[in-house]
């Protein structure tokens, strides 16, 4: 499937009527007021990728500034704003809603054979909350970009003159968006599973979205009240976190991390779900250890609430609690490792198809393993005192969040792109781009591990000459990343107008979303579906003429009309 293979533009078509969800309803209002989960997901995707671009520009500006010690292209104050905005935009606008709202929203009802999520109005409200929150954040960036770091730690955030109130208000509204999405997913999975789909016949992506939703429901409200208290602190002076008024700034850190540590699992859990789907399909094999992977998702969700104190090891947290949190932190490694080993075992002796999504899976396994293992260094008390607030932490975080979540998100986009838009992208350029991302990423962040272990503190504007080669290598790496994303943007957009028409099931997935047209019709399916084994890859056979995988027993996934059995 080389680029530009299909020169003839064929109209997008879906079900028997030729209509699909993209063509049902015209005009911007039919999008803005749609209740169709697929359209909401596409709007989310556009907005979230826009935020990713914005956050990426901030990142490139930071890396450019760090090319040489001292001032390079901006002042120290601007630099403080840049890294804060990079963090805040990437976390709150991009990576938290990223996989659940953009991909999960599209795929979840399809995987359930359902017509929509259980609460479509709430789904739309979630998107509107995202839009409102993002607007407030953008206004805040224009009127007085915050410079506190994305964590808004007191007393920085209570003393700075920048627009903390509007930024935290934006994040507060974005919290509702996240809660509503999670709530909807839990309800949908509980009440909308098709006939035959028991809990342990659900695709693992749904298990991971379910676990993610548990965290979104239980943790996000605490962020809400934290940000509200911060706003009250700045506008009224309630003094809960302000020592001058009798408050406790370390309490803010407890509040903040009670949400924000589980939130990193909001980011990584759905990514793990995508990997579970992809690794099975592109290895042509049933997933290894289904039940364990499912339970490990839930275990990670629960354990994620027990480890927040590892962010406070050097904040004067009590020694006893430090030890408790350190031990609990190690325990999260167990379910994560169980998953990684299961994915490796799935690949073992599989017929591996090195298509672009699989390249992302391989990247994920490599980078996530590094990110996860360096997390153990940071979780142990003695090494953390040395590594805390250095580039080592920055590198660890990016290996998990970029090397884990973003890589899996990209894998998911490439995997479901044909389903979402009915077009195939250029496989050649997709592989080039995946390889460049892998190289660029490692160049950017592995050097940061080295710098960090040598004592380069994070968030510094200036640095010693000895770190200059590392910083320059890191900056070059970030430019390679930028280039790779530009290539990706080009071939994905190109595919929308000139891509080959995608068949129903180009990859050979056995989950239900591949059993409907690409792109699907507005009501998703022409028939009532039944839930079959989602990893029964052998039930499909490749049809060389259409490039499509078809079921050996086509009738097996349709629910039998009453009285026919």
């Amino acid at each position: 499937m080389a680029e530009g293979h299909s020169a003839v533009v064929t109209p997008m078509s879906g079900g028997a009527s030729g209509e699909n969800y993209l063509t049902t309803g015209k005009g911007p209002l039919s999008w803005l007021f749609t209740l169709d989960h697929k359209r909401i997901s596409v709007m989310y995707m556009v907005c979230i990728l826009g935020s990713f671009l914005l956050g990426g520009v901030f990142a490139l500006l930071i890396r450019t500034e760090l090319w040489a010690p001292g001032a390079t292209i901006m002042s120290a104050d601007t630099y403080n704003k840049m890294f804060t905005l990079h963090g805040a935009v990437m976390i709150f606008l991009f990576i938290i809603p990223g996989i659940p709202a953009a991909l999960g929203n599209f795929v979840l009802p399809l995987m359930l054979g359902a017509k929509d999520v259980a609460l479509p109005r709430l789904n739309l409200l979630s998107f509107w909350c995202w839009l409102a929150g993002a607007t407030v954040c953008l206004v805040s960036i224009v009127v007085g970009a915050v410079d506190t770091g994305w964590t808004f730690y007191t007393p920085y955030s209570t003393t700075t003159s920048t627009a903390v109130v509007s930024m935290t208000l934006g994040a507060f509204i974005l919290g509702f968006s996240s809660i509503f999405t999670g709530l909807n997913f839990i309800v949908t999975i509980h009440t909308m599973r098709p006939e035959g789909m028991t809990w342990f016949k659900m695709p693992l992506f749904l298990w991971s979205l379910y676990s993610t939703a548990i965290i979104q429901i239980l943790a996000t409200p605490v962020l809400g009240i934290t940000l509200l208290l911060l706003i009250a602190e700045r506008t009224l002076g309630v003094g809960i976190f302000d020592p001058a008024l009798g408050g406790d700034p370390v309490l803010y850190q407890h509040f903040f991390w009670f949400y924000s540590h589980p939130a990193v699992y909001v980011m990584i859990l759905p990514a793990m779900g995508i990997i579970s789907e992809l690794v099975s399909v592109f290895s042509g094999k049933r997933i290894f250890g289904y039940t364990m992977i499912a339970w490990c998702s839930i275990a990670i969700a629960v354990l994620s609430f027990l480890v927040w104190g590892h962010h406070l090891f050097t904040s004067g947290q009590s020694g006893l609690l430090n030890m408790i949190f350190s031990a609990l932190t190690f325990s999260v490694a167990i379910p994560s490792a169980v998953k990684v080993f299961s994915w490796l075992a799935t690949m073992y002796k599989g017929a591996i198809n090195l298509a672009a999504p699989m390249l992302y899976v391989l990247s994920f396994l490599f980078l996530f393993a590094i990110g996860g293992l360096t997390g153990l260094f940071l979780g142990s008390l003695a090494t953390d005192v040395h590594l805390h607030d250095t580039y080592f932490v920055v590198a660890h975080f990016h290996y998990v969040m970029f090397g884990g979540t973003v890589i899996a998100f990209l894998g998911g986009i490439h995997y479901w792109w044909p389903k979402m838009f009915g077009r195939m992208y250029s496989e050649f350029w997709a592989r080039i781009s995946a390889a460049l991302i892998f190289v660029g990423f490692n160049l950017t962040f592995f050097t940061q591990f080295v710098m960090g272990s040598h004592g380069m503190p994070r968030r510094y504007y200036n640095y010693l000459e000895v770190f200059e080669p590392y910083h320059q290598a890191s900056t070059v790496g970030s430019y390679i990343l930028g280039l790779a994303f530009m290539i990706m943007a080009y071939y994905l957009l190109h595919s929308l107008v000139r891509g080959e028409k995608a068949p129903e099931n180009p990859w050979g997935g056995a989950t239900l979303e591949w059993a409907t047209a690409s792109p699907p019709i507005a009501t998703n399916f022409e028939h009532e579906m039944v839930g079959l084994d989602p990893y029964d890859i052998d039930s499909l056979t490749f049809d060389r003429e259409t490039g499509n995988y078809v079921r050996k027993d086509p009738g097996s996934i349709f629910s039998k009309p009453i009285g026919e059995e």
Binding site: H190, L218, D248, H254, F258, S318, L321, I324
Partner: protein, 119 residues
């Protein structure tokens, strides 16, 4: 759907039940206020919390229909309190373990704390 369908329809609470629960809640309020006039030491707060929780359980079971609802709804409601307990408990463990004497210069009379060493 593979859920167990309950075709008997939603439960309707009788007026008598609503009023009995209301009387119990009123009695609970009177009791909460009354016990504050007696000194049971540290038990006062426990007794108060006990009565408040009993009231909360009554409201949840009967006014909020949890008794006739799917057990899962009760489970998630209880979970919210469990996670809240976790949050408060661990945050509290930190503050009760404060060791201000480890801060250099703390607790030393101001006069003798000349030029404290900063870490």
């Amino acid at each position: 759907m593979n859920q167990v369908e309950t075709h008997q329809g939603p439960h309707v609470a009788s007026v008598k039940l609503l009023l009995v629960v209301w009387i119990a809640l009123m009695f609970g309020t009177w009791l909460t206020v009354s016990v504050t006039y007696f000194d049971f030491g540290a038990f006062n707060i426990l007794i108060g919390l006990g009565i408040a929780t009993a009231k909360a359980v009554l409201v949840a079971l009967y006014y909020m229909h949890l008794r006739w609802d799917k057990p899962f709804n009760a489970f998630i409601f209880i979970c919210s309190f469990a996670f809240l307990g976790l949050f408060i408990g661990l945050a509290l463990m930190d503050t009760t373990q404060n060791q201000p004497e480890m801060i250099p210069g703390f607790g030393v009379p101001a006069a003798s704390a000349a030029a404290p060493e900063m870490p």
